[in-house]
Amino acid sequence: MKKRRFLSFLVILSICFCLTSSGGEAQVLAIRAGKIWTLTDGVITNGVIIVNNGKIKAVGENVDIPEGAKVLNMSDKNVMPGMIDAHCHIGLSLDILAEMDETVAAVAADMQILDAFNPQAEDVKKALRSGVTTILLAPGYRNPVGGQPAVVKLDTSKANDWVLKRTAGVEFSLMNQALMFDREPTSRTGLVALIKEELDHAKADKDGGFNLPREVLKRVVDANLPAYIWAHTVDEIASAMAIVDEYDLNAVLVAAGQGDEVADMIAKRNLPVIYLPLLLSSKDKDLKRAARIAGSGVKLAFSSMAPKTTLYDLRTSAILAAKYGLDKETALKSLTINAAEILGVADRLGSISEGKDADLVILNGDPLQLTSSVEMVIINGNIVYQRQGE
């Protein structure tokens, strides 16, 4: 009797499994688009994108739509790859500052920000409407050696698929905010010394027992794991570059507000920059800085640093940068493919090309116009947001 019950349970279970998997085995999707901004292959007018199994199967002007495919007619719309927010702090809690940093310990390289992330949080769901499909979920800037940021997709409704990288790197901070009065370091010199000391220990790899932060930092000094270094002012950036030089790190600069003033030095080291949100300043001088940094050959990605600005204004950053001198193509690339390259996920994201994830944003106009709105967002081939009335 018991056995039979178990058997029937198994049968039901397998039926369920079949059903869900056939449901998951999504039908082929064909999107007819007025304009396709591929980002790696120019702009295609009146093209078609074929999506199968969450991946882009084909894209072009003369692409046959397979029989039985679900067709989305977007012939008067613009389609671009899902945007990537290269630095933000959403899905934590209302009192976000408390969850971004470990304020008691100065070194927290073993902390994983994903452990504080609530994928069902309201701001995560709201953020989907912005056209951002992937984020670098990051710790804050108050730890000299901070935690590990993660690369996640915003379609967090499915159980497994949304974490692209649980450990995307290790964060470091050379910002003033990393100094505190009640724990070391309390000075700029102490801050740099502490970071170097930690890296030295990791490099020496003295087998002094189990030390989790050191294990992680070992991967950083081996250049297996990128170092995301917060540095805003010229002197902070200079300190960052000195550390990068000394330890030969695979590094990315974060914030870099005054990066334009040392742009050549950043370019020479091939350091990419995750630039701060442009709306943080309203002065013409500051609004022109992103264009100057990129103009020196530095690869740029944008960030919302949410909740500092909202994910909706990730695109605003690119638009403002373009209005104040950045060429439009670079502005769009910084929202997509360049960001994907900087975060190390360009094999899957950042452009509309065969084999990449079907993360797409459909807008009713040019993506670089503020008057254009996001009408539909697709992640892994699934429509995750559709504007009312569309």
Binding site: S304, D313, T316, I319, T371
Partner: protein
């Protein structure tokens, strides 16, 4: 011969006067590709004629005198100067308030610094006028003013109109550490101040009536006394002296609808409280910020309250307080769809943010607002709400020649402001290509 000499002398006396007059009042004719008057439909290939700093004529067939200065704006867009109705340019303190919670007699003009470096940057983006109101820390915080960004360093010369509205705030200080007033006390304290004002007005009226009566009786008495010294007449008694109160005097102007009450309210309860205050006391209400307005759009529309909405995105402000918890970028679109008279303000983190007014309008369009309504919301509508539409806000004959010339449509992010005129004087002109 003598006559001729006299004429010559006379002529030589008048000539410099005449020429000087002609020079200062040289007509300007802007020949535009597209004129967006805002109050009327766009005019293609039209001309705007400016005389003495005012718009003298506009249309496709405007007669231009031979001596007029011609500004060639063919292929370009010409529109009225934009207005940021939530500016903090020239404001030094992050919040301009007294520590008192009821201080309507304060005037924002007394706390401005005209020597702000960023003012020309703001004008260069087509903003010709700004409205500055006191902060939201006081429940009733004083009167706001409209200034023109004409490059003067003299507040008096920038001033278009003072005493535009008395600024109040409900609920905002509930989230403010420096204030001990909770949300409940906010509403009742403002109500109490208005009730006391009502009583004050009543007492003042009574006093004035009694005083008039007394004066009349006194005159009679004096007359009788003079005429007949023998007759015994009672000397009339002077009414008890009435002390004028500056706080109540200002609020009395609100209650008599001379000045609107601009109430900053973010959350639904506070917006509804502001509406019920307006119902009870009958003042002219301007709802300021109105963050959760979209949740009670019907109520606002029914009361015919006007709205100065902002910021369009919380990215414009530092550390948005809990008042902004339910901020929705579609707010402007939803409210204006209900027919509510709505101006858009930048409400930025600093003074220079006012330059983002055209972007604010574009962002509102991006979140669903009608294009024409959005443009109106940064020009004519704020002028109407602030009571300065007789001077600015649209391109109409008789209004100030505050004009912006752009390379393209103002809602196109990449349109460049080419020239800005205020009362016919050029305050910005773009230098070549950057």
């Amino acid at each position: 011969m003598k006559d001729i000499k006299g004429i010559f002398v006379l002529a030589s006396l008048f000539l410099p006067l005449l020429s000087a007059g002609a020079f200062s009042a040289q007509d300007i004719a802007i020949q535009a590709g597209t004129i967006l008057p805002i109050s009327n439909a766009p005019i293609e290939n039209g001309t705007i004629l400016i005389k003495d700093g005012k718009i003298a004529a506009l249309g496709q067939n405007v007669a231009v005198g031979a001596d007029a200065r011609i500004i060639d704006a063919s292929g370009k867009f010409v529109m009225p100067g934009m207005i940021d109705a939530q500016s903090r340019l020239f404001v030094i303190d992050s919040e301009l308030n007294e520590s008192r919670s009821i201080a309507p007699e304060l005037n924002i003009l007394d706390g401005l610094d005209p020597f702000v470096k960023e003012a020309p940057e703001v004008a260069a983006q087509g903003v010709t006028a700004i409205y500055i109101a006191p902060g939201s820390r006081s429940l009733i915080g004083g009167s706001g003013a409209v200034l023109k960004l004409n490059g003067s360093m003299d507040v008096g010369k920038m001033l278009l109109k003072g005493d535009i509205a008395i600024k109040a705030a409900i609920g905002v200080s509930a989230n403010n550490e420096s204030s001990s007033l909770g949300r409940l006390a906010n509403y009742s304290s403002i109500r109490e101040a208005l009730l006391e004002t009502k009583l004050y007005m009543h007492n003042k009226e009574k006093y004035e009536r009694e005083l008039a009566e007394y004066n009349k009786k006194k005159a009679e008495y004096d007359k009788k006394k003079k005429a007949n010294l023998a007759e015994k007449v009672d000397k009339p008694k002077r009414p008890a002296r009435f002390r004028p109160n500056p706080t109540r005097e200002v609020l009395a102007k609100v209650l008599s609808k001379e000045i609107p009450l601009q109430i900053e309210a973010h959350r639904v309860t506070d917006i509804l409280n502001a509406l019920s205050l307006a119902d009870e006391f009958g003042f002219t209400l301007i709802l300021d910020k109105c963050t959760e307005g979209y949740m009670v759009a019907e109520e606002i529309a029914r009361r015919k309250a006007t709205v100065i909405l902002g910021p369009v995105s919380t990215s414009f402000i530092d550390m948005p307080s809990l008042e902004y918890r339910n901020h929705d970028i579609r707010n402007a679109a939803i409210l204006s769809e209900k027919g509510i008279k709505l101006a858009l303000g930048v409400s930025g983190r600093d003074g220079a943010s006012s330059k983002f007014i055209a972007l604010t309008a574009a962002m509102a369009v991006g979140s669903g607002m009608d294009r024409d309504m959005a443009l109106r919301a940064v020009t004519l509508t704020p002028a109407e709400i602030l009571g300065v539409a007789d001077r600015i806000g649209s391109l109409d004959v008789g209004k100030d020649a505050d004009i912006v010339i752009l390379s393209g449509h103002p809602l196109d992010t990449f349109s460049q402001v080419e020239m800005v005129l205020i009362e016919g004087k050029t305050v910005f002109e773009r230098k070549d290509q950057q």
